[in-house]
Assembly symmetry: C2
Homo-oligomer: 146 residues x 2
DNA sequence: TTTGGATAGTTGCACAAACAACTATATGCC
DNA sequence: GGCATATAGTTGTTTGTGCAACTATCCAAA
């Protein structure tokens, strides 16, 4: 039994993602308090567009680990909020390229600051080397299952 | 800056819970393949009832980190599937006590085995001591934010 | 004993996720 | 060129989540 670390009673919070749920809720509250009318999921799409805009919905699927219908609807809602714009690709008419609007460009700095703040609150009192190990383990878990 | 471990580009997967999402998806697929017609969320409620049944919906809220409407609907759906039963408390008529049915008692062994299997796949190649540190960090994160 | 506040649970609404089925376009092979 | 197949995106359905507003019950203090 090489990997029998999880006795009963310990597996629950790994599966349910207790910690990441708590982080997401905290960040959502910060968005709401700041009067930012976006969801964490919408923010996660913008996050990748801030790194590079003009990518396809399929590329957003890969980046955000979501399926195509999820991205369709997130982009729908982001478009309603005037935060992104679909532009049909000239080369391949199946593809929508997603671009930021001026409004969403303005959101980057403020939301990133709130995200940093949230993570600092989450990791208060945790030594850096333990955080590094934790990140490493979570990455391996993801790679093992993807 | 005591906790500046998260440079940009690293915070994303912590917030989105990439790893726990992958674990939950894998376990859900195992349930489906085994012909078990329940969701991970429903399973997470049963998980606590297997430890102790006859608890109130509010106690299920605390145990599963969900709000009251979420538990109301999960219990609704579990009742439709004949997996739990609401029984009004004699002492306090506001309270529903939730009990398992024979069907859900049978589910425990099989689903727990699939959950163990999933975690073993997830943690393959991860040394035990790193898993322990990871669990520790995630618990602190949760405590810091709750 | 009444009244006001707390607690348990439900309902409505908006948003999101997973899956299946669908449309439209592109591509490769005959 | 024409057809099979793959790819990009959309739509419908079920399930779950978070918030606000609501009902019912309990409890404690005037």
């Amino acid at each position: 039994m090489p990997n029998n670390q999880f006795k009963k009673g310990e597996l629950y919070s790994f599966i349910t993602g207790k910690a990441s749920t708590a982080i997401a809720r905290r960040l959502q509250k910060k968005f709401n308090t700041a009067g930012l009318n976006i969801t964490i999921e919408q923010w996660s799409v913008l996050y990748h567009l801030w790194k590079q805009e003009g990518i396809s919905q399929q590329e957003l699927c890969n980046a955000t680990f979501r399926d195509k219908p999820s991205i369709t609807r997130l982009v729908d809602n982001l478009e309603k909020l005037n935060l992104v714009k679909r532009v049909a690709s000239e080369n391949d008419r199946r593809i929508n390229l997603i671009f930021l609007t001026k409004q969403s460009q303005k959101l980057q700095e403020e939301t990133m600051a709130l995200a940093d703040e949230t993570l600092n609150e989450a990791l208060e009192t945790v030594p850096t080397d333990k955080v590094d190990i934790c990140k490493e383990v979570l990455q391996i878990v993801y790679d093992n299952l993807k």
